[in-house]
């Protein structure tokens, strides 16, 4: 056997091994997702089944989610979550991008202190202050009725500026010379920011908006602490959580899966469409 042939054989063997490993791993990762999708179409109720594939398929689980609103009002929760997620997305994206721009491009006395403060605050357990936040919101009357939405929007977007690191890192890699050129041409800082830097930084803008939307969209614990017993202000996350409580699980388990599929669709769509921005946003794309 010639040397070239043996090298080819080794390469073929390696390829087979690698592809087999990848196939097994991919199966492990895809399996639960498939399982949820199949459960959402399953005709049999209850959470414990003896077969992997459902015996009969149905759309009833989805219909039940939107029609059976007496115990758990899913359409309402869906709207609540959507409103909260959209508004906090806009606000936090603005906070994050503007803070990152300032920290990257401008030099002011509070710059270093602000960055150190963000690092220190990031070390505290996130919800350690959650109970205190609840007391504060209660003191200003934001924990009753529809104002809970406002409270949640404030909670999700309020501290957003503290997670500037990724966007700042990105802005740091975009050439400063473009900014300077714009300012020599008579742009104010504000114009430079909105007309030059933001359009040039599409990956990070999209990445920021994406994460700012998904955060509130899937958050569970904050919503639970703030909403407490106000069932009509529940978000989807709390609704889904309740469906798995002992008194509901037998009737609602398959609808839980249907709800899970429904809230995953927007994320999946955003994610797949914007995957390349996600990767680029993490590493910095515009180079000089």
């Amino acid at each position: 056997m010639s040397k070239q042939n043996s090298a080819k054989a080794v390469r073929l063997r390696n390829n087979i091994i690698v592809h087999t490993i990848l196939a097994i791993l991919a199966a492990i990762w895809v399996f639960p997702v498939l399982w949820v999708i199949m459960t959402s179409f399953r005709a049999e109720k209850g959470s414990y089944v003896s077969t992997f594939f459902p015996k009969a398929f149905t759309l009833d689980n989805y219909i039940k989610l939107f029609t059976d609103t007496t115990i758990l009002n899913f359409p309402k929760m869906f709207m609540n979550t959507l409103i909260i997620a959209i508004f906090s997305c806009i606000l936090s994206a603005f906070f994050v991008l503007s803070a990152s721009y300032c920290l990257s491009r401008m030099r002011f006395r509070m710059r270093k202190p602000f960055m150190n403060m963000a690092m220190i605050l990031g070390l505290f357990p996130g919800f350690m202050s959650m109970i205190a936040v609840y007391f504060i919101l209660k003191a200003v009357g934001l924990t009753e009725g529809a104002r809970i939405r406002l409270a949640l929007i404030m909670c999700y977007s309020g501290g957003a500026a503290l997670s500037f690191q990724i966007a700042k890192g990105f802005f740091d890699t975009t050439p400063f010379a473009i900014d300077e050129a714009a300012m020599i041409d008579g742009c104010t800082r504000w114009q430079t920011f909105t007309k030059i830097t933001l359009p040039l930084s599409k990956p990070i803008v999209i990445y920021t908006v994406l994460t700012a939307f998904i955060g509130p969209w899937v958050d569970f614990i904050f919503a639970k602490v703030i909403c407490r017993a106000n069932a009509d202000q529940y978000t989807v996350a709390i609704g889904l959580w309740r469906m798995l409580e002992k008194e509901y699980i037998d009737n609602w388990y398959t609808s839980f899966a249907a709800g899970a599929v429904l809230i995953s669709i927007p994320i999946a769509a955003l994610f797949l469409k914007l995957q390349k921005y996600y990767v680029n946003g993490m590493t910095g794309a515009v180079k000089e």
Binding site: A26, V30, F135, L162, I184, I221, V225, A257
Partner: protein
């Protein structure tokens, strides 16, 4: 022409005078501004700006007289009046008088102190502003009109415009609550001895309780801390290496259908984490899908089940393994880009020198990755110490083997903190746990961070 004037203005703005200078070298009007904020600005022609300063001062003084001083006094005493029944002659019923609520007193007190600090900061600003305008006038320079100031807020002072709203929310919803919780650690605000309405300062007593390994809380603390560190270590590094190996496998030159493989892993990101965790939990119950499947396939006897969340060791391994499932797709996404940035000629040179892929991994890939991703690793480690979701939604801290203790075998400091505050209402102990978590993380990550190359280079600018 406009460019030049703007340039010079930028340079002027760069010169800032200090408060001490203003108090020492300023003229009477400037010095008077220390008492009547904005006076110096008004005298020197900046009327609108001066009036805004003055209005702020009046609003603050009004607030302090009306509420502030009471709040400060209450912050020290934390109240003493209990709720009482009073017989009302006219209505012929018992009415309840409003008792003191220590929690609100503490909150308002902290808010007042914070407001005073902000006010002091504004006061410094007005002093500087007054002195600057005085200097401008003295040297015959252009005194900025109100319109100029507004213009500057969108130009060289843009950071003020953009950061102020953020800072307001950060103060109100992050810093204020944090100080509030930290102070709670020094009180007896707890269900123990019924101090939920009225409580008092107790100094370091709570810390002593927690460090006393003889007490139930003390021994729980040390075991929970130990497990938290073990968890954070494994959760961070299993994910990191698994994600890195996966990324390398997918990005190999000879791997076919790269996009497809990546898609398979990334698709699980689309499912919100709490959904996948809840599903995993239901699947791994004694009567859940996994055990049922194993039984029908004949691996387990009828009625037998694998103790995923009932045996301490099983539970601990289970949460770490499931965390790999949850976390690897994200790690894959994040590390792919970094891996692609490793200069290809390094590998080519290694190939020519006859290095095996394994050697290349340990001699090129790993050192480069550690160099670039140290901050990322630290952030992940701290994130895992504070990883509430995975533990709370997956095992809920179970199994609880020692009934006297408040924590289960998989409880992290954070989930224990949650149980202590929300379920048990031991707010003070919960706050102490939070503070200690912070201290451990702060010391650890500062040490690593300061020594990492990435910090030393970023610190340069």
């Amino acid at each position: 022409m406009t460019t030049i004037s703007r340039r010079t203005r930028y340079v002027e703005g760069a010169h800032t005078c200090t408060v001490t200078e203003a108090l020492r070298d300023g003229n009477t009007a400037t010095k008077l501004s220390a008492v009547i904020m904005g006076y110096g600005n008004i005298v020197n022609g900046q009327i609108a700006k001066g009036l805004i300063f003055l209005a702020t001062e009046i609003a603050y003084i009004f607030f302090m007289i009306r509420y502030g001083f009471t709040n400060l006094v209450n912050l020290v005493t934390l109240g003493s009046a209990t709720q009482q029944e009073v017989w009302n002659e006219e209505l012929q019923v018992y009415l309840y008088t409003q008792g003191d609520q220590s929690i609100l007193m503490l909150l308002y007190g902290v808010a007042t102190v914070l407001l005073t600090l902000v006010m002091f900061w504004i006061w410094r600003g007005t002093m500087k502003s007054a002195y600057t305008v005085e200097l401008c006038k003295k040297h015959g320079k252009h005194v900025k009109s109100f319109a100029d100031d507004i213009y500057d807020l969108f130009d060289e002072n843009l950071y003020r415009t953009l950061m102020t709203p953020s800072m307001f929310f950060i103060c109100a919803l992050t810093i204020l609550p944090l100080i509030f919780m930290i102070l709670m650690a020094f009180t007896n605000y707890s269900k123990i001895d019924n101090h939920l309405v009225l409580f008092d300062w107790v100094g370091l007593q709570n810390f002593a309780t927690l460090f006393d390994s003889g007490s139930v809380l003390g021994s729980t603390f040390w075991s929970v801390l130990g497990w938290t560190l073990v968890w954070a270590f494994f959760a961070t590094f299993t994910n990191y290496f698994a994600g890195m190996v996966l990324a390398i496998l997918i990005n190999r030159k000879d791997t076919k259908a790269k996009g497809f493989w990546r898609f398979c892993f990334v698709i699980s990101c689309a499912m919100p984490m709490f959904v996948s965790l809840l599903i995993m939990r239901t699947m791994l119950q004694p009567e859940g899908a996994v055990n049922v499947l194993l039984r029908t396939m004949g691996f387990l006897e009828a009625g037998e089940s694998l103790p995923f969340f009932t045996d301490p060791t099983w539970a601990r391994v289970t949460v770490i393994v499931i965390n790999i499932w949850v976390g690897v797709p994200y790690t894959l996404l994040q590390l792919t880009g970094v891996l692609q940035n490793i200069p290809a000629d390094l590998y080519e040179a290694a190939d020519i020198d006859g290095a095996t892929p394994v050697q290349q991994f340990f001699k090129i890939t790993l050192p480069y990755m550690f160099y670039v991703t140290t901050p990322y690793l630290i952030a992940t480690f701290t994130g895992n110490v504070n990883n509430f979701n995975v533990i709370y939604l997956l095992s809920g801290g179970d199994p609880v083997t020692d009934l006297g203790s408040t924590a289960g075998k998989t409880d992290l400091l954070v989930t224990w903190l949650y149980k202590l505050t929300i379920d048990k209402q031991y707010y003070n102990i919960g706050a102490v746990v939070g503070i200690l978590t912070f201290i451990i993380l702060a010391i650890g990550s500062l040490l690593v961070y300061r020594n990492s190359k990435s910090y030393k280079e970023e610190g340069g600018f």
